[in-house]
Amino acid sequence: MAQMTMRDAINAALHLEMARDPRVIVLGEDVSGGAGGTSGNREASGGIFGVTKGLWPLYGDERVIDTPISESAIVGAAAGAALAGLRPVAELMFADFVGVCMDQIFNQAAKFRYMFGGKSSCPVVIRAAMGAGMNMGAQHSQTIYPFITAVPGIKVVVPSNAYDAKGLMLQALRDDDPVMFFEHKALYPRKGEVPDGDYTIPFGEAALVREGEHVTVVALARMVPFAEKAIDLLAKEGITCDLIDPRTTSPLDEETILESVENTGRLVVVDESPPRCSVASDIAGIVASKGFHALKAPIVQVTAPHAPVPFARELERAYVPGPQKIETAIRQVLKD
């Protein structure tokens, strides 16, 4: 066990699995950095966020592949290599770049198995840094996991902490299906206890981060630590909550959510995305269909507003759901 950042935890998972399985390759822009540079420093970055650091020195150009800025070719090559027996990890530097390679994600990788009658699989992992919090503006701050959650055939991981990130990444690397792995930029530097060795966390199993009686709070990625803050504050007033971190939005652990609502009768869903066709609305819809009879109050969805992510510090801060909005939502759901 060591205290480790989420960035390092994901890096550790990549290291472990590349050592274990020669089929794993990594490709993307600057995954080593320095190709064609003048310094002779061939690993000049190890990924723009440093998540693929140390892989190139061990595995070289063959398994750690720096690419041109060609996201469709990156994701497509990863998917094609997966069909051909490798287990590629494609890096999309920012999740916002799905727009230039969405076809390879949603019409190709995600659909092969089905279209081919179950006779092949496409074990590709697509990593992407997501989320607001660093004032990177509308095209570098989105949490676009709803688009991918909507797509049958691909699994979606949204870790909220270092421990989960490592175990989920190891699972993703061994999973026989395409996986999109969203890493929240603002969580990269957050530390947590992470075991040294090999462990996996199965997909579709939520974590119960807090246990309580009065309200079920479901939160994703960066919203989990924010929800913890709000919940811990309210605990001092005797208001206690279940806090559920689904960890994967597809598959989604409906059961854990429905069981909790069965006990609390009240649901708050917290999602950094804008509200429409979001995972927040998805979970709200599921509970309104399958957990209706347990509900004692209107479901409260805490999301970003229906607007792009603004640049200015003050505006972005107002845009992103934070502990205070979550606290207000919990109080509100208790009023009815």
Binding site: S72, A73, A82, L83, A84, Q104, G117
Partner: protein, 333 residues
Amino acid sequence: MATAPASSAPHAPLAREQLLRAYRTMKTIREFEERLHVEIQTGEIPGFTHLYAGQEAVAVGVCEHLSDRDYIVSTHRGHGHCLAKGCDVQGMMYEIYGRAAGLCKGKGGSMHIADVTKGMLGANAIVGGGPPLAVGAAIACRNRKDGTVSVAFGGDGSANQGTVFEAMNMAVVLKVPALFVFENNGYSEHTGADYAVGSKDIAGRARGFGMPAEKCDGSDFFAVYEAFGRLCAHARAGGGPATLEPVITRYYGHFEGDPQLYRAKDEVKRLRETMDCLKKFRARVEGEGWLKASDLDPIDEQVLAQIDVAVKSARSAPPAPESEVTTDVYATY
């Protein structure tokens, strides 16, 4: 891997068995498509179908250089590529009819036939969807260091899709054994290739990307075989990617039902005369004395019979049960 001999060689550039196989495959594709053209009119075949008739020499001229361990990716007009790469005739026919016994259990259909065990990584209904995949398969080939290659089939229209350009550049950068075959049949749907390809020269554009590229007569099996042979040998030897632009024609509309109002009235009729790979092949092999009509005539009959069986079986075969709608979405749930 053989370097193709010069086309003026006095003896056959391919062994007798290979010549017979190439002819059989081309003929199989032709009759497969001609029969579909008829059967589609019965309304029994679901969806819409893009026939490959007229382009057979390309698929076969290319795939004669490939083994099951090499890869191809294909297009919406994929039947020819599938057959040339060894997909089962009956399995394909079942698939096109949407039957449980189809290569994809009837879930894919004409535009999604695949057989990964044969190195056939799928027809693809997204124009430009395949080439990035081919680059990935080529990475696998490169890493295996066994001289295998990966081929992306595409049309003249696909040559303008961004994903294709990216794949071409990336293949050059990574120096992987990816081969791009752009079958220039003159049209993308209803639009002329010389209109949509700004440079009017797909091979030249490929050279601009930094790879060798050739143009050839796509209706001449030997021209395709030899040009692709050179490029393929280059790729197998670690020289990186290459492009072939076979100039060819399609005999039918873009999809079955297309009235082809963009083509001159007698264009297809004329091209059936001048650009028929089967006729050209026969003329060449019989003229050179490599094969006799009596070697080929029985193939024609066998092929027709095989297709007839395939269609008849497919017509009466059962579809997959409804429960199959939700299976095969994931490998593990």
